[in-house]
């Protein structure tokens, strides 16, 4: 069995703000295998962005602290990696696309310089011009391509090709114009028309959709083994959203990278992800293959969330909503965090938080790709309205 690219184990993240302590993420476990796209869905404040930023250790610490758990990325526990070494893993190891395309590009530099910087980072690391990551249990080789990234176009070619060492001497002399070709290649990859002109423009001269494409090109140009997309389409209007989403879907097929896709939009996740995790109040309450979770949700929250999606709005009158409100994470309710709003609630739900157990009780609990639900009464969920 292949090793997961990223293996998050029982991760808990706490924000200390003033006197209050907020459990933004509690006991989250997640595995992403090479070439897999995992979607995380949940409402605002459920901890999905915190999770996304915690994996490459981008959370400001303090106020955030990783209370417990491991983030094992290709054999190295990122929780134990020092602040000095983390930048060596970011970018080429774990890439990231943010939700604010309008502000995520430096306004002072042209598109060319921004993408060239990413390419230069990868290039320098590949050629050993800069210090690379040392430490961890096993020697960490960020440039080792993931197992499945062997086919396809420019992004997936072997990262250190044959004869690279002879080329290295020549590559040291790479100039602006030689970087240009590679920058153009990535601009074309994200379907930018007329890349030769775009190259010389400043971010403020581009539309939101264009800027997000540039962001995607920058992240991809470092050839990360894990790409984290934190609501990449949320800040865009609907038509541009559709275009960027189409692009992301096409790229997922081309790139074969492992992707963690964060969104509050069920439709976006349904279209892009292989597996989906539903988060509520800092916990993953349901996890499984996308089709299965959407066809027969096994957690009351997922069921309610799907019912509240406006896809059948016209035929069924008013849009349904979930009664009650999201719990205050500084004092979460005891037991299952959904219990104050749950139609199936019984006494046991107010005791221990139910484990994220396979829905099929006979299955091997360690097997990947199982449909899991953190509900004591998962069998009763299909019977709910």
């Amino acid at each position: 069995m292949t090793e997961p690219v990223i293996d998050v184990e029982h991760l808990s993240i706490i924000y200390t703000v003033g006197a209050g302590v907020f459990q933004a993420v509690s006991d989250v476990s997640l595995k992403i295998y090479p070439g897999q796209v995992v979607g995380i869905v949940g409402e605002t404040g459920c901890g999905k962005s915190t999770l996304a930023q915690a994996i490459p250790r981008l959370l400001p610490e303090p106020p955030a602290t990783i209370g417990a758990g491991k983030i094992v990325f290709r054999g190295t526990d990122l929780v134990k990696v020092s602040k000095r070494q983390m930048p060596m893993i970011r970018g080429t190891g774990i890439g990231m696309i943010f939700q604010e395309p309008l502000n995520s590009l430096n306004p002072a530099y042209r598109v060319f310089d921004q993408i060239a910087e990413s390419i230069r980072i990868r290039h320098y690391r590949d050629m050993g011009y800069v210090k690379t990551f040392q430490g961890g249990d096993a020697p960490f080789d960020y440039s080792k391509p993931a197992a499945s990234t062997t086919v396809g176009g420019s992004l997936t070619r072997s990262i250190v090709p044959d004869g690279a060492l002879e080329e290295a001497a020549r590559d040291r002399l790479r100039t602006r114009s030689e970087f240009r070709d590679e920058v153009l290649e990535y601009l074309r990859l994200v379907r930018i028309n007329d890349p030769e002109t775009i190259l010389n423009l400043y971010p403020h001269e581009l539309s939101g959709g264009m800027r997000q494409r540039i962001m995607i090109a920058m992240a991809l140009s470092e050839k990360p083994s894990l790409l984290i997309a934190d609501e990449p389409t949320s800040a865009l209007d609907v038509t541009i959203q559709a275009q960027v989403l189409t692009l992301m879907k096409e790229l997922i097929d081309e790139v074969h990278a492992s992707i963690l896709f964060i969104s509050h939009d069920l439709g976006v996740i349904a279209e892009t992800a292989d597996e989906i995790g539903v988060m509520y109040a800092g916990r993953i309450v349901e996890y499984g293959p996308v089709a299965e979770v959407f066809r027969s949700p096994r957690h009351p929250y997922t069921k309610a969330l799907l019912r509240a999606a406006p896809s059948r709005y016209k035929s069924e009158g008013p849009l349904s909503s979930i009664a009650g409100s999201v719990p205050n994470l500084s004092r979460p309710p005891p037991g299952c965090r959904f219990n104050p709003r749950c139609p199936l609630v019984r006494d046991i739900c107010r005791g221990e938080h139910p484990p994220l157990a396979p829905v099929d009780r006979t299955a091997d609990p360690e097997a990947p790709g199982l449909h899991r639900s953190a509900c004591y009464f998962a069998e009763e969920v299909p019977g709910l309205p």
Partner: protein
């Protein structure tokens, strides 16, 4: 298929600089004035014979003469030529302005960058940051002119000690300015995006943060040269900075000397000339500062250049709107229009 030829002029930095200045007459004037002052100062240093008709202490037959062709700004009671002294003071005063504002920019800017960027409480950087800011507060709590005057008493009289004294009081303003800008910039998404791309903290500071705080820094610097000159001249006026009359005259000291010894109500040119020199220099740098802001900001800079995009030649028959022909799709939004681009380097 319609062909639209769009000519985009890709300009060199000099050309952009020129165009922004031309579009903004006042800063163009400032630029001209600064260039003129700089060139004149250079000539005074290299070949004083060309622009300085008399020596600084040379006494001529005309005493208390009004401005004339022989003495453009008149003479004083010993027949010394005011014009020559004003011209001789130009390189010194410009140099003083650049030296003080420049050192303050470098010292204060570097400290401000450090204090703003590495300010996480509980780390070494946090302690350094707090220390820098408290020292800055201590300096700022004194009126800078009084502090500079007190320092000149300790450091001694003359140009060098006075420059040093003003510099010591001057850098805290830059720390405050730069730190504030850094604090605003460092939390913007693009800084975090750079971090996510694997850029190291030091490089983020030097490439991503510094570039975006450079604009207020440079603008403040050019405006500040004027303020520095006025401060220096004030200290010169009190009489502790430069000796006048002497071999290296200075405008503030000239003003002070004639205000005390000359009959300025009868011979006003004695003070008008050095005063006007200070005024013109301060004005020149202030005007230039405005233009520099426009040049440093890519948004306004491009706004000036955009006017030069020409559509050439116009299509003979209007192209059908692509949307009307139904040819636009997600993957191919501008399919029917073939955009051919030519570039001309100007």
């Amino acid at each position: 298929m319609a062909t639209v030829v769009v000519k985009v002029r890709t300009d060199g930095p000099l050309s952009v600089f020129w165009r922004v200045l031309r579009a903004n007459p006042l800063s163009f004037l400032g630029f001209l004035m600064v260039a003129f002052l700089g060139l004149t100062a250079l000539v005074v240093v290299v070949a004083p014979g060309l622009v300085v008709p008399y020596g600084p202490l040379q006494q001529t037959a005309a005493r208390n003469a009004a401005p004339s062709q022989q003495h453009l700004f008149g003479t004083d009671n010993l027949g010394r030529d005011i014009f020559s002294n004003v011209m001789l003071a130009l390189p010194l005063d410009l140099g003083i302005g650049f030296a003080i504002a420049g050192s303050a920019l470098l010292i204060g800017g570097a400290l401000g960058l450090l204090a703003g960027f590495y300010n996480t409480p509980g780390t070494v950087g946090g302690w350094v940051s707090v220390s820098i800011m408290r020292v800055t507060d201590i300096f700022l709590s004194f009126p800078s002119l009084i502090l500079a005057l007190a320092l000149t008493r300790v450091l001694g009289l003359g140009v060098g000690p006075t420059v040093l004294a003003i510099t010591i009081t001057w850098w805290p303003f830059y720390v405050r300015l730069v730190r504030g800008e850094v604090l605003a910039v460092k939390h913007l998404p693009y800084v975090n995006a750079a971090r996510a791309a694997g850029v190291t903290e030091n490089r983020i500071l030097l490439r991503h943060v510094l570039r975006n705080v450079l604009e207020p820094m440079i603008v403040y610097f050019t405006l500040d040269i004027g303020t520095v000159l006025v401060t220096y001249s004030t200290i010169g006026f009190i009489g502790v900075a430069s000796k006048y009359p002497g071999t290296s005259p200075e405008w503030g000291a000239m003003l002070a000397f004639y205000q005390q010894t000359g009959s300025t109500n009868v011979y006003p040119w004695l003070v008008i000339a050095p005063g006007a020199a200070i005024f013109v220099t301060v004005l020149a740098f202030s005007l230039l500062g405005d233009g520099l802001r426009d040049i440093l900001d890519p948004r306004t800079r491009r706004a000036f250049v955009r006017g030069t995009i020409t559509h050439d030649p116009p299509p003979e028959t209007p192209a059908p709107l692509p949307i009307a022909s139904g040819a636009i799709t997600d993957s191919n939004p501008v399919a029917p229009v073939n955009v051919v681009e030519t570039r001309s380097q100007t």
